[in-house]
Protein backbone atom coordinates (compact mmCIF):
# COMPACT_ATOMS: atom_id res chain seq x y z
CA UNK A 1 0.00 0.00 0.00
CA UNK A 2 1.22 3.44 -0.79
CA UNK A 3 1.52 5.43 2.37
CA UNK A 4 2.88 8.73 1.22
CA UNK A 5 3.52 10.81 -1.85
CA UNK A 6 7.09 9.70 -1.51
CA UNK A 7 5.84 6.33 -2.53
CA UNK A 8 3.19 7.43 -4.92
CA UNK A 9 4.03 8.45 -8.42
CA UNK A 10 1.16 10.78 -9.02
CA UNK A 11 0.83 9.09 -12.33
CA UNK A 12 -2.66 7.71 -12.56
CA UNK A 13 -2.80 4.57 -14.58
CA UNK A 14 -5.36 2.79 -16.58
CA UNK A 15 -5.57 0.18 -13.89
CA UNK A 16 -9.04 -1.19 -13.67
CA UNK A 17 -10.21 -0.76 -10.12
CA UNK A 18 -13.81 -1.55 -10.80
CA UNK A 19 -13.96 -5.00 -12.20
CA UNK A 20 -16.44 -5.77 -9.49
CA UNK A 21 -18.55 -2.68 -9.71
CA UNK A 22 -22.04 -3.40 -8.53
CA UNK A 23 -24.45 -4.20 -11.28
CA UNK A 24 -27.35 -2.99 -9.28
CA UNK A 25 -27.67 0.55 -8.13
CA UNK A 26 -29.23 -0.60 -4.96
CA UNK A 27 -26.88 0.56 -2.27
CA UNK A 28 -26.73 -2.65 -0.37
CA UNK A 29 -24.16 -2.81 2.36
CA UNK A 30 -22.11 -5.07 0.18
CA UNK A 31 -22.24 -2.86 -2.86
CA UNK A 32 -21.57 0.21 -0.80
CA UNK A 33 -18.52 -1.34 0.72
CA UNK A 34 -17.45 -2.58 -2.66
CA UNK A 35 -17.63 0.85 -4.22
CA UNK A 36 -15.77 2.35 -1.33
CA UNK A 37 -13.10 -0.27 -1.54
CA UNK A 38 -12.78 0.23 -5.25
CA UNK A 39 -12.43 3.94 -4.85
CA UNK A 40 -9.75 3.30 -2.28
CA UNK A 41 -7.98 0.83 -4.47
CA UNK A 42 -8.17 3.22 -7.37
CA UNK A 43 -6.58 5.86 -5.23
CA UNK A 44 -3.83 3.66 -3.95
CA UNK A 45 -3.05 1.40 -6.85
CA UNK A 46 -0.57 3.59 -8.57
CA UNK A 47 2.52 2.94 -10.58
CA UNK A 48 5.95 3.96 -9.47
CA UNK A 49 7.43 7.07 -10.90
CA UNK A 50 10.93 7.79 -11.91
CA UNK A 51 12.66 9.06 -8.81
CA UNK A 52 15.01 11.19 -10.81
CA UNK A 53 12.47 12.79 -13.03
CA UNK A 54 11.18 15.43 -10.71
CA UNK A 55 12.50 18.61 -9.32
CA UNK A 56 10.51 20.70 -6.91
CA UNK A 57 12.45 23.86 -7.32
CA UNK A 58 15.37 25.58 -5.68
CA UNK A 59 16.69 24.37 -2.33
CA UNK A 60 15.61 27.68 -0.84
CA UNK A 61 12.05 27.24 -2.04
CA UNK A 62 11.90 23.73 -0.71
CA UNK A 63 13.34 24.88 2.59
CA UNK A 64 10.68 27.56 2.72
CA UNK A 65 7.91 25.04 2.23
CA UNK A 66 9.44 22.58 4.63
CA UNK A 67 9.70 25.20 7.34
CA UNK A 68 6.21 26.48 6.65
CA UNK A 69 4.91 23.02 7.39
CA UNK A 70 7.07 22.76 10.49
CA UNK A 71 5.59 26.02 11.70
CA UNK A 72 2.09 24.73 11.27
CA UNK A 73 2.83 21.47 12.98
CA UNK A 74 4.34 23.30 15.92
CA UNK A 75 1.51 25.82 16.02
CA UNK A 76 -1.08 23.09 16.38
CA UNK A 77 1.06 20.96 18.65
CA UNK A 78 1.48 23.78 21.11
CA UNK A 79 -2.26 24.27 21.26
CA UNK A 80 -2.58 20.82 22.72
CA UNK A 81 0.01 21.58 25.39
CA UNK A 82 -0.90 25.15 26.19
CA UNK A 83 -1.92 25.67 29.78
CA UNK A 84 -3.66 28.88 28.82
CA UNK A 85 -5.83 27.35 26.18
CA UNK A 86 -8.71 25.71 27.89
CA UNK A 87 -12.12 25.23 26.44
CA UNK A 88 -11.05 22.96 23.64
CA UNK A 89 -13.59 20.26 23.04
CA UNK A 90 -12.64 16.62 22.62
CA UNK A 91 -13.40 16.97 18.94
CA UNK A 92 -11.15 20.01 18.77
CA UNK A 93 -8.23 18.09 20.18
CA UNK A 94 -8.71 15.17 17.83
CA UNK A 95 -8.75 17.46 14.82
CA UNK A 96 -5.84 19.56 16.03
CA UNK A 97 -3.78 16.47 16.71
CA UNK A 98 -4.49 15.10 13.24
CA UNK A 99 -3.52 18.38 11.64
CA UNK A 100 -0.33 18.53 13.68
CA UNK A 101 0.61 15.06 12.50
CA UNK A 102 -0.19 15.64 8.84
CA UNK A 103 1.58 18.97 8.71
CA UNK A 104 4.60 17.25 10.21
CA UNK A 105 4.41 14.58 7.52
CA UNK A 106 4.28 17.19 4.82
CA UNK A 107 7.34 18.87 6.33
CA UNK A 108 9.08 15.52 6.20
CA UNK A 109 8.09 15.14 2.58
CA UNK A 110 9.72 18.41 1.65
CA UNK A 111 12.77 17.63 3.76
CA UNK A 112 13.30 14.40 1.89
CA UNK A 113 12.87 16.06 -1.44
CA UNK A 114 15.35 18.75 -0.44
CA UNK A 115 17.82 16.18 0.77
CA UNK A 116 17.71 14.66 -2.68
CA UNK A 117 18.43 17.92 -4.39
CA UNK A 118 14.88 18.45 -5.44
CA UNK A 119 14.20 14.98 -6.70
CA UNK A 120 11.39 13.17 -5.05
CA UNK A 121 12.81 10.38 -2.94
CA UNK A 122 12.41 6.74 -3.79
CA UNK A 123 10.05 4.50 -1.95
CA UNK A 124 10.48 3.90 1.76
CA UNK A 125 13.36 6.18 2.50
CA UNK A 126 12.05 7.78 5.62
CA UNK A 127 14.79 9.59 7.50
CA UNK A 128 15.62 8.42 10.97
CA UNK A 129 15.39 11.91 12.30
CA UNK A 130 14.28 15.30 11.16
CA UNK A 131 15.73 18.51 12.49
CA UNK A 132 13.10 21.18 12.68
CA UNK A 133 13.53 24.83 13.47
CA UNK A 134 11.80 26.18 16.54
CA UNK A 135 9.47 29.09 15.98
CA UNK A 136 8.63 31.78 18.48
CA UNK A 137 4.87 31.78 18.38
CA UNK A 138 3.13 34.49 20.35
CA UNK A 139 1.39 32.93 23.31
CA UNK A 140 -1.55 35.26 22.77
CA UNK A 141 -2.53 32.98 19.93
CA UNK A 142 -3.52 30.50 22.62
CA UNK A 143 -5.25 32.96 24.94
CA UNK A 144 -8.72 31.69 24.16
CA UNK A 145 -10.33 29.09 21.98
CA UNK A 146 -11.68 31.76 19.67
CA UNK A 147 -8.32 33.44 19.38
CA UNK A 148 -6.63 30.17 18.65
CA UNK A 149 -9.00 29.20 15.88
CA UNK A 150 -8.84 32.67 14.40
CA UNK A 151 -5.07 32.40 14.20
CA UNK A 152 -5.28 28.83 12.95
CA UNK A 153 -7.54 29.86 10.09
CA UNK A 154 -5.19 32.69 9.17
CA UNK A 155 -2.30 30.28 9.10
CA UNK A 156 -4.13 27.70 7.03
CA UNK A 157 -5.45 30.21 4.53
CA UNK A 158 -1.93 31.45 3.91
CA UNK A 159 -0.67 27.94 3.42
CA UNK A 160 -3.50 26.91 1.16
CA UNK A 161 -3.07 30.09 -0.85
CA UNK A 162 0.62 29.38 -1.28
CA UNK A 163 -0.02 25.85 -2.45
CA UNK A 164 -2.64 27.05 -4.91
CA UNK A 165 -0.18 29.59 -6.19
CA UNK A 166 2.42 26.92 -6.74
CA UNK A 167 -0.02 24.66 -8.54
CA UNK A 168 -1.18 27.53 -10.67
CA UNK A 169 2.38 28.40 -11.58
CA UNK A 170 2.61 25.22 -13.57
CA UNK A 171 5.70 23.25 -14.42
CA UNK A 172 6.26 19.58 -14.85
CA UNK A 173 2.96 17.73 -14.56
CA UNK A 174 4.29 15.44 -11.85
CA UNK A 175 5.35 18.37 -9.72
CA UNK A 176 2.07 20.18 -10.14
CA UNK A 177 0.26 17.02 -9.21
CA UNK A 178 2.41 16.37 -6.15
CA UNK A 179 1.88 19.88 -4.83
CA UNK A 180 -1.84 19.64 -5.51
CA UNK A 181 -1.92 16.37 -3.59
CA UNK A 182 -0.57 18.15 -0.54
CA UNK A 183 -2.76 21.19 -1.13
CA UNK A 184 -5.91 19.09 -1.00
CA UNK A 185 -5.13 18.00 2.52
CA UNK A 186 -4.46 21.56 3.58
CA UNK A 187 -7.91 22.42 2.26
CA UNK A 188 -9.39 19.63 4.35
CA UNK A 189 -7.71 21.12 7.40
CA UNK A 190 -9.12 24.51 6.57
CA UNK A 191 -12.62 23.14 6.23
CA UNK A 192 -12.53 21.31 9.53
CA UNK A 193 -11.13 24.27 11.42
CA UNK A 194 -13.91 26.41 9.98
CA UNK A 195 -16.52 23.83 10.88
CA UNK A 196 -15.32 23.59 14.45
CA UNK A 197 -15.86 27.29 15.08
CA UNK A 198 -19.19 27.46 13.31
CA UNK A 199 -17.96 29.13 10.15
CA UNK A 200 -19.05 27.96 6.76
CA UNK A 201 -16.51 25.37 5.70
CA UNK A 202 -17.34 25.69 2.02
CA UNK A 203 -17.71 29.28 1.01
CA UNK A 204 -14.35 30.53 2.14
CA UNK A 205 -12.42 31.25 -0.99
CA UNK A 206 -8.68 31.27 -0.73
CA UNK A 207 -6.84 33.25 -3.31
CA UNK A 208 -3.66 31.86 -4.74
CA UNK A 209 -0.71 33.83 -3.43
CA UNK A 210 3.00 33.89 -3.94
CA UNK A 211 5.47 32.35 -1.54
CA UNK A 212 6.58 35.85 -0.63
CA UNK A 213 3.03 36.78 0.31
CA UNK A 214 2.70 33.57 2.25
CA UNK A 215 5.93 34.33 4.07
CA UNK A 216 4.61 37.73 5.05
CA UNK A 217 1.43 36.19 6.43
CA UNK A 218 3.32 33.50 8.30
CA UNK A 219 5.65 36.11 9.73
CA UNK A 220 3.00 36.87 12.33
CA UNK A 221 3.74 33.46 13.73
CA UNK A 222 7.49 33.77 13.93
CA UNK A 223 8.23 32.53 10.46
CA UNK A 224 11.29 34.12 8.93
CA UNK A 225 12.50 31.81 6.21
CA UNK A 226 13.44 33.59 3.02
CA UNK A 227 11.70 32.47 -0.14
CA UNK A 228 14.86 32.45 -2.15
CA UNK A 229 15.12 32.04 -5.85
Amino acid sequence: MIESPLDSPFHPTSASPNSALPNSLSLSRRSALTLGALAGVAALTLPRFSANALNLGSPAQMKFLENAMHLQSQFFGRALMSTKLDGLTPTDTVVISAIEDQDGEQARWFALARARGGNLPPVNTQPSSLTAPTFTIDSNNYATRDRFFDSALTLKKATVGAFHGLVGAGGRPEIVQALAALAGVQNRHLAMLSELVGKDPFVTYVEAISLQEAGNALGKFGFGTEVGK
Binding site: T13, L25, G184, F202, E207
Partner: protein
Protein backbone atom coordinates in the same frame (compact mmCIF):
# COMPACT_ATOMS: atom_id res chain seq x y z
CA UNK B 1 -40.67 7.20 -3.63
CA UNK B 2 -39.39 5.43 -6.66
CA UNK B 3 -36.16 3.60 -6.29
CA UNK B 4 -34.43 5.94 -8.63
CA UNK B 5 -35.01 9.51 -9.41
CA UNK B 6 -33.94 10.18 -12.92
CA UNK B 7 -32.84 13.31 -14.63
CA UNK B 8 -33.22 14.06 -18.29
CA UNK B 9 -30.24 13.64 -20.53
CA UNK B 10 -28.87 11.91 -23.56
CA UNK B 11 -26.78 8.89 -24.01
CA UNK B 12 -23.52 9.99 -25.38
CA UNK B 13 -22.34 11.86 -22.38
CA UNK B 14 -19.65 9.49 -21.40
CA UNK B 15 -18.10 9.67 -24.81
CA UNK B 16 -16.47 12.81 -23.66
CA UNK B 17 -14.81 10.88 -20.94
CA UNK B 18 -11.86 9.85 -22.93
CA UNK B 19 -9.59 12.53 -21.76
CA UNK B 20 -8.61 14.62 -18.94
CA UNK B 21 -9.83 14.66 -15.46
CA UNK B 22 -13.06 15.06 -13.71
CA UNK B 23 -11.93 18.26 -12.28
CA UNK B 24 -14.67 18.27 -9.84
CA UNK B 25 -14.15 21.89 -9.68
CA UNK B 26 -13.00 23.65 -12.68
CA UNK B 27 -16.01 25.78 -12.40
CA UNK B 28 -14.22 28.68 -10.97
CA UNK B 29 -12.34 29.06 -14.14
CA UNK B 30 -14.10 32.29 -14.28
CA UNK B 31 -12.23 33.65 -11.33
CA UNK B 32 -8.95 33.65 -13.04
CA UNK B 33 -8.92 37.21 -14.13
CA UNK B 34 -9.52 38.50 -10.65
CA UNK B 35 -6.42 37.40 -8.91
CA UNK B 36 -4.44 40.50 -9.65
CA UNK B 37 -7.29 42.79 -8.77
CA UNK B 38 -7.83 41.71 -5.22
CA UNK B 39 -5.95 41.54 -1.99
CA UNK B 40 -4.49 38.16 -1.26
CA UNK B 41 -6.42 35.57 0.70
CA UNK B 42 -9.75 37.27 0.28
CA UNK B 43 -12.43 35.29 2.03
CA UNK B 44 -15.65 35.33 0.12
CA UNK B 45 -18.21 33.23 -1.60
CA UNK B 46 -16.55 31.86 -4.70
CA UNK B 47 -19.90 31.46 -6.34
CA UNK B 48 -20.50 35.15 -6.14
CA UNK B 49 -17.96 35.85 -8.81
CA UNK B 50 -18.52 33.26 -11.43
CA UNK B 51 -20.25 35.67 -13.72
CA UNK B 52 -17.18 37.62 -14.60
CA UNK B 53 -13.55 37.24 -15.35
CA UNK B 54 -13.93 34.58 -17.96
CA UNK B 55 -13.15 36.97 -20.72
CA UNK B 56 -9.82 37.77 -19.15
CA UNK B 57 -8.62 34.23 -19.48
CA UNK B 58 -7.11 33.03 -22.70
CA UNK B 59 -9.47 30.49 -24.18
CA UNK B 60 -8.47 26.93 -23.38
CA UNK B 61 -7.88 24.68 -26.32
CA UNK B 62 -7.04 21.14 -27.33
CA UNK B 63 -6.46 18.83 -24.42
CA UNK B 64 -7.62 21.43 -21.97
CA UNK B 65 -11.03 21.41 -23.59
CA UNK B 66 -11.12 17.66 -23.28
CA UNK B 67 -10.48 18.07 -19.59
CA UNK B 68 -13.22 20.65 -19.32
CA UNK B 69 -15.65 18.31 -21.09
CA UNK B 70 -14.89 15.48 -18.77
CA UNK B 71 -15.07 17.74 -15.77
CA UNK B 72 -18.49 18.75 -17.00
CA UNK B 73 -19.66 15.16 -16.86
CA UNK B 74 -18.45 14.80 -13.30
CA UNK B 75 -19.96 18.10 -12.28
CA UNK B 76 -23.26 17.21 -13.88
CA UNK B 77 -23.31 13.96 -11.99
CA UNK B 78 -22.62 15.72 -8.71
CA UNK B 79 -25.16 18.44 -9.44
CA UNK B 80 -27.80 15.86 -10.34
CA UNK B 81 -27.11 13.94 -7.18
CA UNK B 82 -27.51 16.89 -4.86
CA UNK B 83 -30.54 18.17 -6.76
CA UNK B 84 -32.18 14.79 -6.33
CA UNK B 85 -31.27 14.75 -2.66
CA UNK B 86 -32.96 18.09 -2.12
CA UNK B 87 -36.01 16.97 -4.07
CA UNK B 88 -36.25 13.82 -2.03
CA UNK B 89 -35.87 15.75 1.20
CA UNK B 90 -38.86 17.89 0.30
CA UNK B 91 -41.13 14.89 0.23
CA UNK B 92 -39.48 13.05 3.08
CA UNK B 93 -37.31 15.03 5.42
CA UNK B 94 -34.67 12.39 5.87
CA UNK B 95 -31.63 14.54 6.47
CA UNK B 96 -30.67 16.13 9.77
CA UNK B 97 -30.67 19.90 9.69
CA UNK B 98 -26.92 20.27 9.34
CA UNK B 99 -26.68 17.72 6.57
CA UNK B 100 -29.53 19.36 4.73
CA UNK B 101 -27.99 22.81 5.01
CA UNK B 102 -24.69 21.55 3.68
CA UNK B 103 -26.41 19.68 0.87
CA UNK B 104 -28.17 22.86 -0.15
CA UNK B 105 -24.92 24.71 -0.25
CA UNK B 106 -23.09 22.07 -2.21
CA UNK B 107 -25.99 21.76 -4.64
CA UNK B 108 -25.73 25.42 -5.47
CA UNK B 109 -21.99 25.14 -5.90
CA UNK B 110 -22.17 22.13 -8.18
CA UNK B 111 -24.88 23.65 -10.34
CA UNK B 112 -22.77 26.74 -10.65
CA UNK B 113 -19.79 24.63 -11.65
CA UNK B 114 -21.82 23.12 -14.44
CA UNK B 115 -22.83 26.50 -15.72
CA UNK B 116 -19.29 27.81 -15.59
CA UNK B 117 -17.89 24.83 -17.45
CA UNK B 118 -20.51 25.13 -20.13
CA UNK B 119 -19.62 28.78 -20.35
CA UNK B 120 -15.99 27.96 -20.93
CA UNK B 121 -16.88 25.61 -23.76
CA UNK B 122 -19.16 28.16 -25.29
CA UNK B 123 -16.54 30.87 -25.05
CA UNK B 124 -14.06 28.57 -26.75
CA UNK B 125 -16.50 27.88 -29.56
CA UNK B 126 -16.79 24.24 -28.58
CA UNK B 127 -19.97 22.25 -28.57
CA UNK B 128 -21.55 21.57 -25.21
CA UNK B 129 -22.10 17.84 -24.74
CA UNK B 130 -25.60 16.62 -24.19
CA UNK B 131 -26.60 16.15 -20.59
CA UNK B 132 -26.68 12.53 -19.51
CA UNK B 133 -29.39 10.90 -17.47
CA UNK B 134 -28.26 9.92 -13.99
CA UNK B 135 -29.65 7.54 -11.47
CA UNK B 136 -28.49 6.81 -7.98
CA UNK B 137 -29.17 4.17 -5.37
CA UNK B 138 -32.55 4.70 -3.75
CA UNK B 139 -31.16 4.30 -0.27
CA UNK B 140 -29.24 7.52 -0.47
CA UNK B 141 -32.54 9.38 -0.61
CA UNK B 142 -33.86 7.67 2.47
CA UNK B 143 -31.00 7.16 4.86
CA UNK B 144 -28.86 10.05 6.06
CA UNK B 145 -25.99 7.66 6.61
CA UNK B 146 -26.25 6.27 3.09
CA UNK B 147 -26.47 9.79 1.77
CA UNK B 148 -23.37 10.94 3.60
CA UNK B 149 -21.46 7.86 2.59
CA UNK B 150 -22.39 8.17 -1.06
CA UNK B 151 -21.87 11.93 -1.16
CA UNK B 152 -18.38 11.79 0.23
CA UNK B 153 -17.54 8.93 -2.13
CA UNK B 154 -18.48 10.79 -5.28
CA UNK B 155 -16.72 13.89 -3.99
CA UNK B 156 -13.59 11.84 -3.34
CA UNK B 157 -13.79 10.54 -6.88
CA UNK B 158 -14.04 14.09 -8.10
CA UNK B 159 -11.01 15.16 -6.10
CA UNK B 160 -9.00 12.18 -7.31
CA UNK B 161 -10.04 12.82 -10.88
CA UNK B 162 -9.05 16.42 -10.70
CA UNK B 163 -5.70 15.50 -9.21
CA UNK B 164 -5.14 13.01 -11.97
CA UNK B 165 -5.36 15.75 -14.57
CA UNK B 166 -4.27 19.00 -13.00
CA UNK B 167 -0.69 18.54 -14.03
CA UNK B 168 -1.71 18.24 -17.65
CA UNK B 169 -3.66 21.47 -17.88
CA UNK B 170 -1.76 23.76 -20.22
CA UNK B 171 -3.70 26.98 -19.84
CA UNK B 172 -2.33 28.90 -16.87
CA UNK B 173 -5.59 30.57 -16.06
CA UNK B 174 -7.46 27.32 -16.21
CA UNK B 175 -4.96 25.62 -13.96
CA UNK B 176 -5.06 28.40 -11.38
CA UNK B 177 -8.81 28.29 -11.30
CA UNK B 178 -8.75 24.53 -11.19
CA UNK B 179 -6.51 24.68 -8.13
CA UNK B 180 -9.00 26.88 -6.35
CA UNK B 181 -11.95 24.70 -7.20
CA UNK B 182 -10.08 21.55 -6.40
CA UNK B 183 -9.50 23.02 -2.98
CA UNK B 184 -13.18 23.70 -2.59
CA UNK B 185 -13.97 20.11 -3.52
CA UNK B 186 -11.46 18.83 -1.00
CA UNK B 187 -13.21 20.89 1.64
CA UNK B 188 -16.52 19.32 0.63
CA UNK B 189 -14.98 15.91 1.11
CA UNK B 190 -13.63 16.70 4.56
CA UNK B 191 -16.98 17.73 5.95
CA UNK B 192 -18.97 15.03 4.20
CA UNK B 193 -16.60 12.43 5.58
CA UNK B 194 -17.34 13.60 9.10
CA UNK B 195 -21.06 13.29 8.41
CA UNK B 196 -20.43 9.72 7.34
CA UNK B 197 -18.49 9.03 10.50
CA UNK B 198 -15.05 8.99 8.93
CA UNK B 199 -11.82 10.80 9.62
CA UNK B 200 -11.90 14.09 7.76
CA UNK B 201 -8.40 13.59 6.40
CA UNK B 202 -7.09 10.05 6.45
CA UNK B 203 -3.77 10.80 4.77
CA UNK B 204 -1.42 13.70 4.38
CA UNK B 205 -1.77 13.63 0.61
CA UNK B 206 -4.57 13.21 -1.87
CA UNK B 207 -4.45 10.38 -4.37
CA UNK B 208 -5.05 10.83 -8.09
CA UNK B 209 -7.38 8.81 -10.27
CA UNK B 210 -7.00 8.14 -13.95
CA UNK B 211 -9.67 8.88 -16.50
CA UNK B 212 -10.33 5.18 -16.86
CA UNK B 213 -10.71 4.77 -13.14
CA UNK B 214 -13.07 7.69 -12.84
CA UNK B 215 -15.09 6.64 -15.83
CA UNK B 216 -15.58 3.16 -14.48
CA UNK B 217 -16.48 4.43 -11.04
CA UNK B 218 -19.19 6.79 -12.27
CA UNK B 219 -20.50 4.77 -15.20
CA UNK B 220 -23.02 2.84 -13.06
CA UNK B 221 -24.78 6.11 -12.36
CA UNK B 222 -25.07 7.24 -15.96
CA UNK B 223 -27.94 5.40 -17.53
CA UNK B 224 -28.44 7.13 -20.82
Amino acid sequence: MSEYIEFNARRDALKIAGMGAAVGALALLTRTGHAADKPAMTAQDPMAKTDSGMGKMAAPAGGDLDIVRFALTMERLEAAFYAQVLTAHKTRAFLPARSFALAQEIAVAEADHVGALEGVLTAAGAEIPATPKFQFPGEVFISPIAYAWFAHTIEEIGVGAYLGAVGNIQNDGLRRSAAAIYGAEARHVAILRTLAGFNFSPRYFESPLSVDQVTKLITPYIVA
